[in-house]
């Protein structure tokens, strides 16, 4: 199962217009992620981490190269197809949690399943299960405004995990959390990765996150400068 490629980027480029100039966010990025990875894109601000996650989540399109997500090439995907792919296979966790403010915790977690059209009874079971994974069952009826940062991020994790996606893309998930909450949240994600074999791909420059990563990919100025897995493979090859 470890060999099943979920995301494959080849010569990926992304530039943004800024006034009269073009800013390079990604340049010739070649990366692939397999099922069950717990990987992180690491680098300073502006290194292209979030841009890569956005493209991998089909929220943005590359200006060069190509990326295939769950067997779906991004360049051929319509808005509708991309939305369907996100809904079925990709969960997102954001730095600012992005919970829907007028919904309760339960309703927030339920939302992706509503979009899938899952029947109510199954939906209910799935939501309770997701809330149990992240240990926040007692807050089911609370509104996001009544939660702490750590609790909010747990709800965001539950919302991302409730549909049992193949991949979870987490953009700076601990940036707004204190050390204790960061560790709790990360431990929850490690547990889900191990139990459900869901791939987690982070963008981060937080040392607390980095120490949990099984694979660390360093980016600088839009280029991959280090990939621990590639290093390991190289080392393995040298040993053989």
């Amino acid at each position: 199962m470890q060999d099943s490629v979920q995301i494959e980027a080849r010569h990926l480029c992304k530039t943004f217009p800024m006034g009269q100039q073009q800013v390079v966010a990604l340049e010739q990025v070649n990366l692939s992620f397999r099922e069950g990875e717990f990987a992180g894109l690491v680098g300073p601000s502006g290194s292209g981490k979030t841009t890569f996650l956005n493209i991998a989540g089909l929220l943005d399109v590359p200006t060069g190269g190509n990326i295939t997500v769950m067997g779906q090439p991004s360049d051929g995907a319509s808005h509708k197809a991309a939305a369907a792919l996100r809904n079925r296979h990709i969960g997102f966790i954001f730095q600012t949690f992005n919970l829907l403010p007028v919904y309760t915790v339960f309703e927030n977690v339920e939302f992706p399943l509503l979009l899938q059209g899952m029947p109510k009874s199954q939906r209910k079971d799935a939501v309770w299960q997701a809330l149990e994974w992240v240990g926040i069952l007692d807050k089911a009826k609370a509104r996001p405004s009544q939660l702490s940062g750590g609790q909010s991020q747990r709800v965001a994790i539950a919302r991302a995990m409730v549909k049992r996606p193949a991949i979870v893309l987490a953009d700076e998930p601990t940036a707004n959390l204190d050390a204790k909450n960061s560790h709790n949240v990360l431990q929850t994600m490690v547990k889900l990765n191990e139990e459900l074999k869901t791939s987690f791909i982070f963008s981060t420059h937080d040392e607390k996150v980095i120490q949990y990563l099984k694979r660390k990919i360093s980016l600088e100025d839009g280029r991959v400068v280090e990939d621990s897995e590639a290093e390991a493979r190289k080392h393995e090859a040298e040993l053989q």
Partner: protein, 391 residues
């Protein structure tokens, strides 16, 4: 398909006070628009009814020469009542009126008037003609309150009247005011002096003659009569309708302003919602909602404001509108001042078509102004939306 309505309901109910403030403002616009239209309808209805009751009846036969817009025709606008009309009069289905130009001399002043002869026993028009006695030695006269005021006349006053008979000979004599009537219809009051028909016929030397014959309101048959023209209510009320139409144009400015306020309330809400909820929009797209569904959701949310406003408006608006329909509005100046027979109290009139039509129009406007800002979402880059940026 049920998802979007379900989410829209959740969203607007979840928004709490923000939703209800909007709904209250919109419902006020709903009620105010219906009330405003109701007043215009009431104005027309009230004036029409009063004119039918006091002047027009179910339609009028005009003697061939009669032209109410040309006072010079009045001298010659009279003829013997034809048999067909005489039969209607004798069977109580019509009443004859003879009109002649005259001059009144109250307190030494000269007041041009129209002398109108009416059968004291008639019941076709709501004019208190029973106060007239054709057998009295001094001709008895009935005048309206406006006429009494302009002539400084009261019950029991004698006043000299001068007129020309059918041969053009001037004659004059005193008449006595036996009753002053209160009517909302200025055309039977201002500069009008009502005398017993037979008395006026004798004074003008026009026995058995009339200028017009008014049909009973319930009289549906109007036979052709040679030398006389039948004027139906559509024709007779045309001036009133035209006048009200002119007023409606002026009032429609208020209508448009109210509608505009409702539009602004929703438009403003939707624009604010988009700015405030841009991250939410990005999140919805990230979770797999298509852009078209996001547009549907926001448009429906706006429309639901209209639905809730209609419901709220119905709750407090129904008793309020019913109260005004029953008790009317006191208007500071007599309606006659505007040339309309509406009296001092104006009663609004609402029809189901008007209420449903207004509601549908407001809902349509609300939906359109919800859709317009929402369209912008379709162009929104999800990554910008997630960063809370509008491009």
């Amino acid at each position: 398909m049920i998802l979007i309505p379900q989410l829209a309901v959740r969203n607007i109910l979840g928004a709490g006070l923000r939703t209800w403030l909007n709904v209250i403002v919109l419902s006020l616009a709903f009620v105010a628009i219906i009330l405003s239209v109701g007043f215009n309808r009431g104005l027309l209805q009230q004036a029409s009814t009063a004119m039918i009751d006091a002047e027009l009846g179910g339609g009028q036969y005009w003697q061939g020469e009669y032209d109410p817009y040309d006072p010079f025709t009045l001298q010659d606008a009279h003829a013997e009542i034809p048999e067909a009309l005489a039969n209607l009069i004798s069977s109580g289905k019509a009443t004859a009126i003879l009109a002649a130009p005259g001059t009144l001399y109250p307190d030494g002043r000269i007041l041009p008037v129209t002398l109108r002869g009416i059968d004291p026993h008639q019941t076709i028009l709501e004019i208190p003609s029973r106060f007239l006695d054709a057998t009295a030695e001094t001709p008895q006269a009935l005048i309206g309150a406006r006429m009494a005021k302009s002539g400084n006349l009261g019950i029991g006053d004698y006043v000299t009247v001068r007129w020309r008979d059918r041969h053009g000979t001037y004659d004059a004599r005193d008449i006595v005011i036996t009753q002053i009537m209160n009517t909302t219809v200025p055309t039977v009051d201002t500069r009008q002096v009502w005398l017993p028909l037979r008395t006026l016929q004798e004074m003008t030397n026009m026995p058995d003659q009339a200028t017009l014959v008014v049909l009973d309101k319930n009289q549906t048959q109007a036979p052709e009569v040679a030398g006389w023209s039948f004027m139906n209510l559509d024709f007779l009320l045309k001036d009133l309708h035209d006048l009200v139409k002119t007023r409606l144009i002026a009032r429609s400015v208020l209508y448009v302003i109210l509608l505009f306020l409702a539009m602004i309330a929703i438009f403003d809400t939707q624009i604010l919602a988009i700015f405030r909820r841009r991250k939410e929009i990005g999140t919805l797209i990230a979770m797999g909602m298509t852009r078209s569904k996001v547009i549907q959701l926001f448009t429906l949310e706006g429309m639901l404001h209209g639905v809730l406003a209609a419901g709220l408006g119905a709750i407090y608006g129904t008793p309020l509108l019913a109260y005004f329909a029953k008790n009317g509005f006191e208007i500071p100046q007599s309606g006659a001042g505007f040339g309309l027979a509406i009296g001092r109290t104006l009663y609004p009139y609402y029809s189901t078509t008007m209420v449903v039509g207004t509601t549908a129009l407001v809902m349509l406007v609300v939906t359109v102004v919800s859709f317009i800002p929402t369209r912008r979402i379709a162009k929104l880059n999800p990554t910008d939306a997630l960063r809370g940026k509008i491009t």
